[in-house]
């Protein structure tokens, strides 16, 4: 399959954004227009006068990518050019869950025919690993650092997929860079469904999370296998598929110990209790989705 994201961009070795963008384009195909908010993906792929994008691409601002996408969709309709052209927005977790929340909510309420892919690497990586609304419980970031009296980020992740389901979206799915086929298939399905579809991709960041550049896929897989990141689809409000874990189920320690951002949990007094709290989050997912 031809890659629509050219090599030679400025992404790190093992970059999750580059992988997510490639898989998204494999699912969406050539007949698409891509919108990016400000972030790593935008910066690393379009240093003027170069571009890595072999599909039409636009970046406007940080908090408005969904609205920009809705305008493109409206224009294609008005000009009689919609055809099968797909409008695909790819935004990071900050651009999606935090600063872009109003914009994405408006687009989904209005029912535009777009696909929104959130590339969730669980912090503001482009600006140096600051906490976002997607940062998991007890992760150490530069604005939620672990310290003598802190285990890191004090709050669990915002449940964005549930929020998008509540908007009445016809298709909401979670996916992971650990499972490229899963992601490509879900993007393809999302872009073929009429209306606003949402895909939330768990995307480990080698730089921000602190793991070797060769381990992006392994870390992503481990998040799924511990139950911390369940893979599922919700169609018209109903869960229609879940990736079962069966005997592959792993304790959360296996996932946490791979990453620098959780290292303090293994060295600080009281860390074991904190890990138990994270295990409880995984257990809740396992129960809720029947993993």
């Amino acid at each position: 399959m031809k890659s629509l994201l050219a090599s030679g961009h400025r992404g790190c070795a093992g970059c999750c954004d580059a992988m997510a963008a490639k898989f998204t384009l494999m699912g969406a195909g050539e007949d698409c227009i891509v919108v990016n908010p400000t972030g790593c993906l935008e910066v690393m792929t379009t240093p003027f006068p170069e571009t890595a994008w072999e599909v039409p691409w636009i970046h406007s601002l940080f908090e408005n990518a969904a609205a920009v996408g809705s305008g493109i969709e409206a224009a294609l309709k008005a000009l009689g050019r919609k055809g099968n052209t797909k409008v695909v927005v790819m935004g990071g977790d900050g651009a999606t869950l935090d600063i872009g929340m109003r914009s994405i909510s408006g687009v989904f309420e209005r029912g535009h025919d777009i696909t929104y892919v959130c590339i969730d690497n669980e912090a503001y990586m482009n600006t140096g690993v600051q906490r976002s609304g997607a940062t998991p419980f007890n992760a150490s970031t530069t604005t939620s650092p672990a310290g003598k009296v802190s285990f890191g980020n004090p709050r669990p992740k915002k449940n964005m997929p549930a929020i998008m389901v509540a908007h009445g979206s016809p298709y909401v799915a979670t996916t992971s860079l650990g499972y490229p086929k899963d992601m490509i298939n879900k993007v393809k399905k999302a872009t073929e469904i009429e209306g606003p579809a949402y895909i939330h991709c768990h995307a480990p960041c080698t730089t921000g999370w602190g793991f070797d550049t060769s381990k992006t896929v392994e870390v992503a897989k481990m998040a799924v296998q511990t139950g911390l990141w369940p893979l599922y689809e919700v169609e018209e409000g109903k869960v229609t598929s879940v990736r079962k874990l069966g005997k592959a189920k792993k304790p959360v320690e296996e996932y946490l110990k791979m990453q620098r951002r959780f290292k303090h949990l293994f060295t600080m007094e009281g860390g074991a209790e904190e890990i138990a709290k994270i295990q409880a989050i995984a257990d809740k997912n396992i129960e809720e989705f029947g993993l």
Binding site: E30, D31, C32, I33, V35, E42, V43, T46, P47, F48, P49, E50, T51, W53, E54, V55, P56, W57, I58, H59, S60, L61, E63, N64, A67, V68, G69, S70, G71, I72, E73, A74, A75, L76, K77, A78, L79, G80, R81, T85, R102, S103, S105, G106, E109, R110
Partner: protein
Amino acid sequence: MPREMNLDKSKMVVVEGSYAVAHAVKACRPNVISAYPITPQTHIVEDLSQFMADGEIPNCEYINVESEFSALSALVGASAAGARCYSATTSQGLELMHEVLFNVSGMRLPVVMTIVNRAVSAPISIWNDHQDTISQRDTGWIQLYAENIQEVSDMTAQAYRISEDRDILMPSMTCMDGFILSHVYEPVVLLEQDLTDGFLPAYEPEHVLDPKNPLTFGAFADPNYYTEFRYLQEQAMQRALKKIEDVANEFYDIYGRYYGGLIDEYRTDDAEIIIMAMGSVVGTIKDVIDKLRDRNVKAGLLKIRSFRPFPAEAIKNVIRDAKVVVVLDKNITLGLNEGALFTETKSTLYNTDVRVPIIGYMLGHGGRDIRIETIERVIDEATEVMKTGIRIESQFTDLREELL
């Protein structure tokens, strides 16, 4: 140059200012309208919504967005995809768009918006002044100010012609005073569809988002490139100075209606006192000038239509032989104690041979009426300046001292 207006009375109808603007927008055949309601802009978007509901705007999508921020953001995408785009807002809505304003201009997207001028909060006020648009003067938007409903209606078509010209490609705000123009009924000629189809051809941009020819819009520019983008924007603004005049002339040839290009003049030929102003207050000033001329006070009016680009040469040529210039501003640069038109007019004269005393008045804030007596008093004070020189360079007027 003053010209004879050919207003065809048989074509005139009495409508609300907002309706005239909405009708003009319809006649410009927009492809995407995106707007969020805010007083006193609401009647424009309501009328456009009704046109949509009645199927009167072909090949158009209307997006009911969830904020002004998204209203303009949606138009970034729509314009880049090749659509003729429209929005309208005011005051808080315009301030919320601030970040997007720079973006639209920097990406050279020829979006047109009507701004129904209103004061900004705090204290919250829904009434008219020019603080909202003046505060956006550095965002790279062409800013045109209208004197009356006929002008702002016709200005809509002019703005698209100016903005979409490939030598310009800069967005435009057409500015109308909130309530004073937006909610008043006047006899006007609604923008003629047949003439407009000739005056304003379909928007055919050179670069669009299209899978058949993939292009990248909105790349980031490092220090090796950024400066040149800004320079080219300024070059386009400078070219717009001539384009605004050309388009006003062409509009006159086709429609028979003319309101000035960058500026307009009223009884300035032999004027010793020239008053400068923008927007609806211009009409009041003309009445006062007529009255004073009967008493042999040689007063004239310099109406500023284009605040961005700033018509420095045109202003200089009009005021060079005056004995005193009075600038009225419905805005203030806090910390400078001056209105923007006053400051910028002074600055354009500094390195020139034109040496005219200029005094500034800040008035009409938050919808306070500007009465004939106020203009008369200002002109009286200007007459004193001719004799004594400037005593107070810039000041608030019509202050209610008892409240202070």
